[in-house]
Amino acid sequence: MGVIKPSLTLTANASTASSNAGPLSVALSLSATDSLAVTKVQSKILDVFGAHASGDSGGILWDASDYTASGEAGTDGAFVYIKNITAAGSGRNIMIGAATLENLSGNGEADRLFTLQPQEFAFFPWDCTVDLNFDANGDTTNALESWVFVRTGTA
């Protein structure tokens, strides 16, 4: 067992600021930290493709069955970090989805959890009840970085 310490800060200037004005009339400063007990750690940097299910990974970012045989709430799962590492302005959007391996780019596609524009990132728990998949709006090598930290207690 090991411990990781994630920390997230969200800041914004007031809307009256002369540079990087924020969305509110007051400045925003939010901070959250935690200490998480984990076991396994895995990381990868993936190529992405406009045609989903292409490449060595076949469009699967993380396969739930690799980590647990039964995704039980509050017991089994992991923490996932994902970043679109393509250069700012590259226009390479990467879609992350759950459930079936499919094209995730359709308007209103219900299995698309979110889109990461260049340099955007996410950090969230994952209960390993579904696979996490990816799709993109074109081909780019070394485009998607992801880490998974498996919760201690996952069976």
Partner: protein
């Protein structure tokens, strides 16, 4: 006029040989990322948990008028479980986040995105292709903090 928030995430751990808070791998980890996001509306709420009710937290249809296009429409979501763990740890203060108005706590429930244990947080984009629900395990006031920042390009 553009309005910005700055987000920073760090994930750190000691080497597994450390005498306090040993990490999950043989070397220390230090991941740090930051991003500047262009947003418009901000909405924040602290949600009470009602044990017998699945609660709609974010209704996608409230934020766009045409289609939920990838890379265009959407927002960024922050979640934090504000509860403390019970003296004898259990799952009663866990908060389940999912994408369907139903019980989300079954083993391998495919509509459960993740479980937040006490003190845990998440940061992720949201493409507004699905509504976001929570499924409490027990009645608790002031249990879940969540903030939505809407992407500027959302129409």
């Amino acid at each position: 006029m553009a309005k910005y928030i700055t987000t920073t995430l760090s994930i750190t751990s000691n080497a597994y040989t450390a005498t306090t808070n040993p990490g999950p791998v043989s070397s220390p980890l230090a991941i740090s990322v930051t991003d500047l996001l262009d947003v418009t509306a901000v909405e924040s709420k602290v949600v009470d948990m009602l044990t017998t009710t699945h609660e709609l937290i974010w209704d996608a249809s409230e934020y766009f008028t045409t289609n939920a296009d990838f890379g265009v429409d959407g927002g960024f979501l922050y979640f934090r479980n504000l509860l403390s763990e019970n003296t004898t740890p259990d799952t009663l203060h866990d908060i389940i986040i999912g994408n369907a108005d139903e019980d989300l706590d079954a083993v391998d429930e495919a509509n459960r995105i993740f479980t937040l244990q006490p003190g845990e947080f998440a940061w992720m984009p949201w493409d507004m292709t699905m509504d976001i629900y929570c499924d409490p395990q027990e009645t608790n006031a002031g249990a879940l903090e969540t903030i939505l920042f809407v992407r500027t390009t959302t129409t």
